[in-house]
Amino acid sequence: MLKEGIFLGKRYEILSRIGSGGMADVYKGKDHKLNRYVAIKVLKSDYRTDEVFIQKFLSEAQAAAGLMHPNVVNVYDVGQDRGLYYMVMELVEGITLKEYIEKKGKLTAKETISISIQMATGIQAAHNQHIIHRDIKPQNIIISKEGKVKVTDFGIARATTATKTISGNIMGSVHYTSPEQARGAVVDEKSDIYSAGVTMYEMITGHVPFDGDSTVTVALKHLQEEIISPAKEVPDIPYSLECIIMKCTQKIPEHRYLNCHDLILDLKRSLVNPDGDFVNMFSRSSGTDTTIVMPTEEMARIQERDYDEDDDYDDYDDDYDYDSENYDSEEDEQGGRKKNDVDPNMKKIMKILMIVAAAVIAIGVIFMVGKAAGLFKIKPGSAQTQTENKVSVPNLVGMTEEEAKAALSKKNLGYYVSGREASDKYDKGIIIRQETAAKKKVAKNSQINVVVSTGKKQKTVSVPDVVGQDEASAQKALEAVGLVVANSEAQYSDTVAEGKVISTSPSAGAEVEEGAKVTMVVSLGVEKATVPTLTGLAAADADAALAAAGLAGGNVTEEYSDEYEAGIVMNQGTEPDKKVTKGTAVDYVVSKGPEVEMVNVPSLTNMTEDAALQALEDAGLAGNVTYQSSSVTPGYVISQSAAPGSQLEKGTTVDIVVSEAQDSSQDGSGNGDGTGEGTGEP
């Protein structure tokens, strides 16, 4: 619920709540632009998050805003403000037809017809603009204090929504819902005519034709049950009115009036010729002998209609055997019905009679409404205070806003600030001038527009362009034109050199008052980063440390080191704690661990022990000698533990086997055998 005094769209002031519907709250409001009272319908919060629905609400409301008719509650504006969707409408002071019927119990035939003509005329105006109401019901028909009947809530009343609703909220509508609406089919003008017929039924009988515990029961009755003629209850109902109501409430849309024009015509005829037999009841030829001729015009329209669901429709047609006995018997008595062509003289008489009748009815309605004044939703007093009383406009110039407001309200005049501007003569907040001259006589409640001073006009200067200058000269340039340099900010910049101005606020070229403060942003140069200590970190951690400092990993090289373990940074290209440009790549060296030198194992075969040891030593290896008796010449190498040509870590010990000294007798042959054995040949 909105608070009083809130403005919507900077124009409409909420004054008080006057009602609440299923989807919206209605407020009395004031349009401060056109200075008139209005009704403002504000969409309930439930629907504010339903974008599909909101689009529909706005587009339908816009369509309705294009509709201006005396029998329609006119829509002036639609809008959205601070998340609230609203519709601005004509403020009609009166009561709803529902309240009126409740008050009176039931209406007379004349009253019913008079109200119905106006209602149908309002609906017709909408149909002419291709707007289907979809929710015609006495709650949406307002009888103004002047006795005018106005239809309200066009289009938006039953706008489709996905927002879940509890059925109790729509009980008011389901009593008037057409069978095709209950079925969920596409609805057209004839659906409104059905609902109008139900409304007429309620006026004349004082109750709706179908009632029940739940929306479902009621909806089903509209689909399945035939309406019992109001004549059963109201025996004195004019025959023509009974027929009109029955024709409007036919289950099959094509059996109703096809448009409001035809309905209004019959209603008018009914006023002058209440018992006339001019209503063209559509009837199917059933078992009876009655032959009914369908007017060719109507036939043509039916044939023209393009049905998407032709088959479905046929089914439906068969399901509802609506030929009630009432009708057939009546028709038998009356004989075939034909269009009642009125001769020109009769037309003239009818016209006069109708005017008289309408006048009588209008007076009656006003009388009734007057009696029902206690039911008025809007208390009289505000809107109709715009009497002929004229008041003299006070002189407001030189007053403060508060003083002006008080002076105006004393005279029942409205205060509105139409503008604020600088003034050398008047201080801030003082009225400079008024748009309605002082002493002029105006109607009470008129709005007086005033212009309020914003204080002395200041000399303005253009902020000079100091970007790129060094701080000191920029400050001089700014002060030279009468600006004050406020504390400057420092910022890193990749493009502006250190100590130069990057920008000013307000920026160059801005028109500001003399003496205004200007803030300069001065470059710190390219942003610097501190190089972290990488030595001693694992390579992965080094990259992370660089990234954290805003630096990049540079070339990574590997070196042997006796001091650092493998994988640890042993050296970095840029010294720790040095300031460098952000993003600079820092090289570092990762330890491969202690260096290992590989040497080739020499061939020691046919060497003496000493020569072999020397050869190993020369190669960087050590020797370990064992002795064995062999056919090999004593003192010579028999075998070595590492194969000649293979690589070993420098300093590795190689085992060698050296032949022991033997008997000389065995020497020669032994030697030969030994050689044989040594080479492993047979």
Partner: protein
Amino acid sequence: MKTFSITDVGMVRQVNQDYVYTTNHPLGPLPNLFVVADGMGGHQAGDYASKYTVEVLKRELKQSRENDIEKALVLAIKTANREIIKAASKDSHLKGMGTTIVAATMVNQMMYFANVGDSRLYLINQGIVQLTKDHSLVEEMVRLGGIKPEEAKHHPDKNIITRAIGAKENVEVDFYEHRLKKGDIILMCTDGLSNMVEDDELFHIVQGGRDIVEAAESLVETAKENGGTDNIGLVLAEPFADEVSVC
């Protein structure tokens, strides 16, 4: 019992008023509980209604000394209804709030469930069957023969429900039971899913998923691809082999 619950704001709404809850731990006489609720009402009212209803339900069941599953569950739902009405009458922001509810529990190869509103419980096995009856104007008209199921499908008044938690002081709760069979999968969902995805598509997605988690995510995605005009909330439950009766 393997269960998975998921809810998504959808493609159009700004607020998620759906609320889903599952537990495999006992709550009073119930050995487990699965709930889907679809709140309604503006501002924070709708999401408050669905969440608060589930909280009251949990609290009431936990304290319940009733041994009869039906009595315990229905009583807890009725208490939640009264508390929602009470909360709505105290706070003008919550005025008019309400929620649907479908709640289920599985006990000894039997599934017991209750519903109010138009959130559904489907049984999926060789085919798909809706076991709950929607308390909506359109579905009730279909059941009473007023309109045809085809007419109901795209009926503009589909949003109108005939029962809700928070609507009337005395809410009527429908209660059902079903003997679980091998291969049964239970789908509980709000109309944000069932209005966006046709029944046979629901069936194919659930049966086509590698597991219920994948199936549930796929259901949400499909509803969103088809427009996602409302919030989507669902629970998928698959009984273990020893929780079903042998055919």
